[in-house]
């Protein structure tokens, strides 16, 4: 009897040992996390991703999915307000965009317009919580820290060019309101900080982050490094013996040195662009971010996020003056995005670069959250529009949003899904959720859906439980 029990125990222990390696430990160090599957890059349609992030809730009916134009009239009923801009035709037959987006409309024959994205219902609205969900595919809070999609991609695919960091985040500062909540998802989470974002808050100063410290020329930089190497060799550290920690430390110091003196670092320098090109993109930080993204993709970046920047009540987050402010927002994004697509195409890069434009949710004049939902703390909207200040989409709407994609095998001149013609303007066909969006992006990059790591002994997939489905309609069929 005793013997049997012993056997079983030994057996159980062996089983545990066998899975130990896979279970790793709860260390956030990704250095020895091993994924169950390696990316099948041979099937990849894209090498790089540019995410154009419309922070703060971009209203679909005021941008890429316009409805009936209801011009401003003093005293008009709020519920009568539908779209506050007239619409204008795009290059696609029968497809109109809201006025002010003609540039983007002109390149839609190169990409797909999704009109049926549905953001999750997370109860009463907090932008950063929806943004967390969009970027990680996991609803906050989580008991472990999930990685940003850029970190997953950086981890699975690594850099395209070894000296360009694989995950670059352009335009977001964290000194703004909700900065801590923003930090919560701008992170590689359990994958470890090695895969975290490389921040460039101001694209015009991108070069600062990848060149030797200010005031140090290359000659001195090299001489400093030589001094360092010589001192390392003669330091008394030998008495402690070699170790993987020391090796990893010296290796990363060497890598940093190589990056900072590499010619590729010039990709971060916008001043090297011809003035007319620079001016074409320069509608502000977002526009220059698009230009920087293009330069980085040319030099071999993997994942780049360019944001209009989230700052509470600013940018796309219109709680009043929606109409007036959106004019400015459209002017900020229209030309640079059009130019980005054209430039990528001209350079033969668009086919291998997936460009995604998205926002955490949409907006509406009256509807907060979902139809039928009674969401707390709604933005106050008067029954009647007395001034231009009241004219615009000031509440948060989650049930129908627009998203654009180009390149990376995405169909050209295609429209997916539609929203209702009458309020509520919710998605009525082909509803798309974030798990599908993520899985489709991973699909384009050749990262298989079963990609997972064991964290605190639990499997943790790129999409929750690995169940996100690829939106197959999105891609041109392969032969």
């Amino acid at each position: 009897m005793l013997n049997d029990i012993e056997t079983r125990r030994t057996f159980l222990r062996k089983m545990q040992q066998a899975s130990m390696a896979a279970m790793a430990v709860s260390l956030p160090s990704a250095s020895f996390l091993s994924s169950c599957s390696k990316a099948k890059t041979s099937q990849a349609r894209a090498d790089s991703v540019i995410l154009l992030w419309m922070a703060g809730g971009m209203c679909h009916t005021e941008t890429f999915d316009p409805k009936t134009y209801t011009p401003f009239e003093k005293g008009m009923e709020s519920k009568a307000v539908v779209s506050t801009f007239p619409s204008s035709p795009t290059v696609l037959d029968g497809i109109h965009f809201s006025e002010g987006l003609e540039g983007i409309g002109s390149v839609m024959d190169r990409g797909t317009l999704i009109r049926s994205y549905r953001a999750a219902d997370l109860g009463h609205i907090l932008h950063t919580r929806h943004q967390y969900h969009w970027h990680t595919c996991y609803e906050p809070p989580q008991s472990v820290q999930p990685p940003h999609i850029g970190a997953w991609i950086a981890k699975e695919l690594g850099p395209v060019n070894p000296v360009i960091p694989p995950f670059i985040d352009i335009g977001q500062r964290f000194t703004v309101g909700e900065g801590e909540e923003l930090k919560a998802f701008h992170s590689a989470g359990f994958l470890g900080s090695a895969f975290g974002p490389f921040f460039i808050p101001d694209p015009a100063q991108g070069l600062e982050s990848v060149r030797p410290p200010k005031g140090m020329d290359l000659k001195r930089f090299e001489s400093r490094n030589k001094l360092y190497r010589d001192l390392v060799k003669s330091s008394a550290f030998g008495e402690y013996g070699s170790s993987y920690q020391q090796e990893s430390y010296l290796r990363s110091m060497e890598q940093a040195y190589q990056l900072l003196k590499s010619p590729e670092a010039q990709a971060f320098d916008l001043s090297q662009e011809p003035k007319e090109v620079y001016d074409l993109y320069n509608t502000g930080r977002f526009g220059l971010g698009c230009l920087l993204a293009r330069r980085l993709v040319e030099s071999g970046a993997r994942f780049i996020s360019v944001t209009t920047e989230y700052e509470p009540f600013l940018g796309w987050d219109t709680h009043e003056n929606g109409h007036t402010r959106l004019k400015g927002m459209k002017a900020q994004i229209d030309r640079p995005i059009q130019q980005l697509i054209l430039d990528l195409e001209e350079r033969g890069l668009l086919d291998r670069t997936l460009v995604v434009l998205a926002s955490e949710f949409s907006r509406d004049m009256l509807m907060e959250g979902r139809p039928g939902a009674n969401v707390r703390d709604q933005v106050k909207v008067p029954d009647q529009v007395e001034t231009l200040k009241h004219y615009g989409m000031h509440r948060h709407f989650t049930d129908g949003c627009s998203m654009l994609m180009w390149g990376g095998g995405v169909r050209k001149g295609f429209v997916l899904g539609e929203t209702a013609a009458e309020r509520p303007f919710k998605a009525i066909t082909e509803p798309i959720v974030i798990d599908q969006v993520h899985q489709s992006i991973y699909h384009a990059l050749g990262i298989p859906p079963e990609t997972q790591y064991t964290i605190e002994q639990r499997p943790f997939y790129t999409t929750p439980d690995g169940t996100g489905e690829v939106i197959t309609d999105l891609f041109t069929p392969t032969i």
Partner: protein, 944 residues
């Protein structure tokens, strides 16, 4: 062995082994095939050259293999067989070659026979070699497993199965074993949590309901059961199960088949599949060891070393010891004088005395260990007002707890049953909106207590019955209900299941948690948890401290206390001793650190994976990298203070003034201040007939400022962390006075800006008057007027100042030097009290949204980039270099002094040569900057 492997040529030889082995394989087998052909076809070709060459390479391979073994962590049966067969092959090959050379003309048959034997031996060597590199089952996995180890205890069942029916207890056991198999091999995909193919194997209903494809078993008829069919399919078949990991062994499948044959009985006992550590502590007797092993910890380690065949190595020297002890207790570097004094101290007991002395420096002990506790209690994160009241800090409580060395049982009590000050830990983080049921704050409380205090993972069980330990969903809710005002409805995977459960603790054997109100239950829970019978609580903290000091816990990961320790006796003895010593954390540190075990040299373990595995053998501490906080503090000690501002101020020297700035509005919204110059004015009057005896002011601004009083320029500043203090000439003040400040927000894009001002005037009457920066000040962005500093200037069209205090929490924190009492303007603020910033974050200080049990010890490119080109870091180095030169010290002397400060030693002659050479080719300031930079990034400085 270590010496041997350290020469690169030898290492290369070893690395070439996997390449070399293919030559003898190709050549000898090739020769054998050709010889066979020749024998068959009576040919006359000569293949002897191939045999010679094959023999030569066989010898090379063996040498390479020996070198490889010497340099790596190879051990065990497989390697032994590979080694033996390898040597045999080489021997045989030489013999064969010699035979071919001298005798094959006479006896060609014998030569061929010898060659054949060599090839057979080669085949074996190759097989064992492949088993090493591809895994033991690389060959056998082609067939259904014949692996003897996985035979479970089938023999036992087979001996029984001759009888037609089993007694009930045997049936139950059989079922439990099958369920254990399911748990380990199938749950990952087929459980309530996952239900791949609609199948859940983690409960009776699921097993008998089957999956989308119908029933998986037919009781009594294994041959008709789908599960058996699928399990027996070869790996190549799409339907083969499991799809992940190894296939089940024949024995395992037979066991399941036997269970089905017996009618698939289901035992209604709660299944305890996973190892559970006993709650109670062993109190092992101190082992008998040689007289020179006196310390109890050393006695246990000595026994362990004997079992493992490890000799005690030489202990570290005084210089290493004092550095290690300082960094481990205070997080600071020892000062050169302290090192010297320590080295010269003849006392045999000096190391123990040092530990005692360091622990008496309560403030620095607290400021170092604060980071450990902040990580563990996920304290010191920062939130904004948007998540109203959704977070709470316990910093104040924690600081006092550590500085008082509050008994740990009391500390745990106060965390579980908190006062207002310690409420943040179980309060958790409440995000706005609807959250997943498993992340309700009550469940967060249960999860965090489980992880941080008890070393068990409740996160899985918060959603569904756990498949990594024995905890159930109901247990998780029961635990969470202790913290709930109203009982929580159980949600499985975020879906309500209509069930409720009574409040209760995870380990009912420790006693019941009673109470109708929340307050009563918390008090009751606290008593249940902290009782000495709950060994987990104490093992947990001892194990975590051990990890802090040695780089790896006695059990790893420290969050999984049910894993096997490398020495249960040592762990339990320390935990029991800790209880004996009135739960003193400082005493626990003293106990561990006064052992010889603590003085073992750092060990070069092969890889992080090995350290994390159960195969780990303790030989001494891991090499540790300075934590973000330790690095910043060490830098501040040696080079230049890094931070001047705290987010938490234990001394509470805060003054009553406000950070203010010009209010910037865009489309009716306040926005981040734009770069540019803003002007500020404030007038004040002195009471009539009062004489001022003394006037002092404090001033700082982000980013720069010029200060005027009554039109006279008094002060300028460019670094907001450098508070300026000025004794004001009294004659400058009149009855009516005008303060005018020009502030500059630098940068290209909008960023935080503010100024902070205080003027203190002592009157001869003994009264004190203050003028503080606040919202009564006036501001403008118009800079056209020239006379704006004058008292007579009309500022009626200026706006009111905006209180920029919102950046205070998230950005500036508290400036301890902004105080009339503080005289030390170069005050250096300990990193643990500084708000998280990008610099420390990149160096590994966690964001603390979740409990952090261990920080990463390996380096990343982003870290090195930061250290190589961060402007902040570079500026600090520049300031330091300028300060050294300003003090008039010759550069070489300064460098020697720096070496002593940073490394506790003079540069050696070789280093001096390098440094002198460098000095010749560079400006002194640049030279000094580059030396400082190199010095603080040397592994000798960075690694402990």
């Amino acid at each position: 062995m270590f010496l041997l492997s350290s020469h690169w040529l030898l290492e290369l030889g070893g690395k070439l082994h996997p390449l070399l082995v293919h030559f003898p394989i190709g050549l000898l087998v090739g020769a054998w095939l050709l010889e066979s052909w020749k024998h068959w076809r009576q040919g006359s070709q000569d293949y002897r050259q191939m045999v010679y060459l094959g023999a030569f390479f066989a010898v090379c391979s063996v040498i390479g293999g020996a070198l490889l073994k010497a340099s790596g962590d190879y051990a065990g049966e497989t390697i032994r067989w590979h080694e033996i067969s390898g040597y045999l092959t080489a021997g045989l090959a030489i013999l064969t070659a010699l035979y071919y050379k001298y005798r094959s003309d006479q006896f060609p048959g014998r030569a061929y026979l010898l060659l054949s034997i060599s090839c057979i031996s080669l085949t074996f060597a190759g097989h064992w070699g492949a088993s090493l590199t591809h895994g033991a089952d690389y060959l056998s996995s082609i067939w259904t497993s014949t692996d003897q180890q996985d035979q479970v205890n089938l023999a036992h069942w087979q001996s029984l199965s001759s009888a037609d029916s089993f007694p009930e207890d045997q049936l139950n056991r059989l079922n439990v074993e099958v369920r254990a198999l399911f748990a380990h091999r199938c749950y990952q995909c087929h459980s309530e949590a996952k239900r791949k193919g609609g199948l859940a194997l983690d409960h009776k209903e699921g097993v008998f309901a089957g999956g989308d494809g119908g029933a998986i078993l037919v009781a009594g008829a294994p041959e008709e059961s789908e599960i058996i069919r699928r399990l027996k399919l070869p790996r190549s078949d799409e339907e083969a199960m499991p799809t992940k990991g190894k296939l089940l062994s024949e024995g395992e499948i037979d066991l399941i088949a036997l269970w089905i044959e017996q009618g698939a009985p289901w035992a209604d006992t709660t299944l305890k599949v996973f190892r559970e550590a006993p709650l109670a502590l062993k109190r092992p007797a101190l082992p008998n060891t040689p007289a020179e092993i006196k310390h109890p910890i050393d006695k246990f380690v000595h026994v362990y070393f004997q079992e493992q065949g490890i000799e005690w190595p030489n202990l570290i020297d005084d210089r290493q010891f004092i550095r290690r002890a300082f960094l481990d207790i205070t997080g600071l570097l020892p000062k050169p004088a302290a090192i010297k004094q320590f080295e010269e101290n003849p006392s045999t007991n000096k190391r123990q005395e040092l530990i005692k002395h360091l622990l008496s420096d309560k403030e620095n002990y607290t400021l170092h260990w604060l980071s450990f506790w902040n990580d563990l209690l996920r304290n010191d994160y920062s939130g904004t007002g948007f998540i109203t009241g959704g977070r709470k800090q316990v910093t104040d409580w924690l600081y006092r707890t550590l500085i008082e060395d509050k008994p740990y049982n009391q500390m745990a009590k106060e965390l579980i049953n908190p006062s207002k000050e310690s409420a943040g830990f179980i309060k958790g983080i409440q995000w706005r909106g609807v959250v997943n049921a498993s992340q309700r704050t009550e469940l967060q409380a249960a999860q965090n207590i489980s992880q941080s205090l008890l070393g068990i993972n409740l996160k899985c069980a918060s959603c569904h019955n756990s498949f990594i330990n024995n905890l159930t969903l109901e247990q998780a809710y029961s635990f969470a209900n202790i913290f709930a005002e109203e009982p929580l409805e159980i949600h499985r995977c975020d879906k309500p299941i209509g069930k409720f459960t009574a409040p209760g603790f995870l380990y009912p054997s420790l006693g019941e948690v009673v109470g109708d109100s929340l307050k009563e239950r918390l008090a009751s829970l606290a008593e249940v948890v902290v009782q000495p019978a709950n060994g987990r609580l104490y093992r947990n903290i001892v194990n975590r401290f051990w990890q802090q000091l040695f780089g790896r816990g006695i059990i790893t990961p420290v969050d999984e206390l049910d894993n096997l320790p490398w020495s249960q006796d040592l762990l339990d003895w320390m935990a029991a001793e800790f209880i004996q010593n009135d739960y003193s954390l400082a005493q626990l540190l003293a106990d561990i650190m006064s052992s010889q075990t603590y003085q073992l040299p750092a060990v070069n373990y092969s890889s992080p994976a090995f350290v994390a595995s159960e195969e780990f053998v303790f030989r001494g501490p891991l090499i540790k990298r300075l934590s973000a906080e330790q690095f910043v503090d060490a830098f501040a000690q040696v080079v230049q203070p890094f931070y001047h501002s705290r987010s938490y101020d234990p001394d509470s020297l805060e003054m009553d003034c406000e950070w203010i700035w010009h209010e910037e509005i865009e489309v009716e919204r306040r926005v981040l201040p734009k770069p540019g110059i803003r002007r500020f004015r404030k007038s004040f009057s002195l009471p009539i007939g009062q004489q001022i005896s003394k006037a002092q002011l404090l001033m700082t601004a982000d980013d720069a400022y010029s200060l005027f009083i009554n039109g006279q320029k008094l002060l300028e500043g460019e670094d907001w962390q450098q508070v300026q203090q000025l004794d004001l000439p009294i004659d400058i003040l009149r009855k009516n006075n005008q303060i005018a400040i020009e502030g500059t927000n630098e940068g290209i894009i909008a960023n935080p800006a503010g100024l902070l001002f205080s003027l203190r005037m002592e009157l001869e009457s003994g009264d004190t008057l203050f003028v503080h920066s606040d919202r009564s000040w006036k501001t403008t962005k118009d800079t056209s007027d020239l006379d704006w500093t004058a008292l007579t200037y009309d500022d009626s069209d200026w706006g009111g100042a905006w209180r920029a205090g919102r950046f205070e929490k998230s950005f500036w924190g508290v400036l301890p030097s902004f105080n009339f009492e503080s005289t030390d303007t170069a005050l250096f603020v300990r990193a643990a009290l500084v708000k998280q910033d990008d610099f420390m974050k990149t160096l590994g200080r966690p964001v603390r949204e979740n409990v952090t049990s261990q920080r990463s010890t390996t380096s990343t490119l982003l870290q090195s980039l930061l250290l190589t080109n961060s402007a902040l870091f570079h500026d600090k180095i520049k300031e330091a270099a300028q300060a050294w030169l300003a003090a008039g010290q010759p550069p070489m002397e300064a460098v020697e002094e720096l070496y002593v400060q940073a490394l506790g030693r003079q540069p050696n002659p070789r280093e001096k040569r390098i440094l002198r050479k460098q000095l010749k080719s560079a400006e002194p300031e640049e030279f000094l900057e580059d030396v400082i930079w190199s010095l603080v990034l040397l592994p000798e400085f960075q690694l402990i």
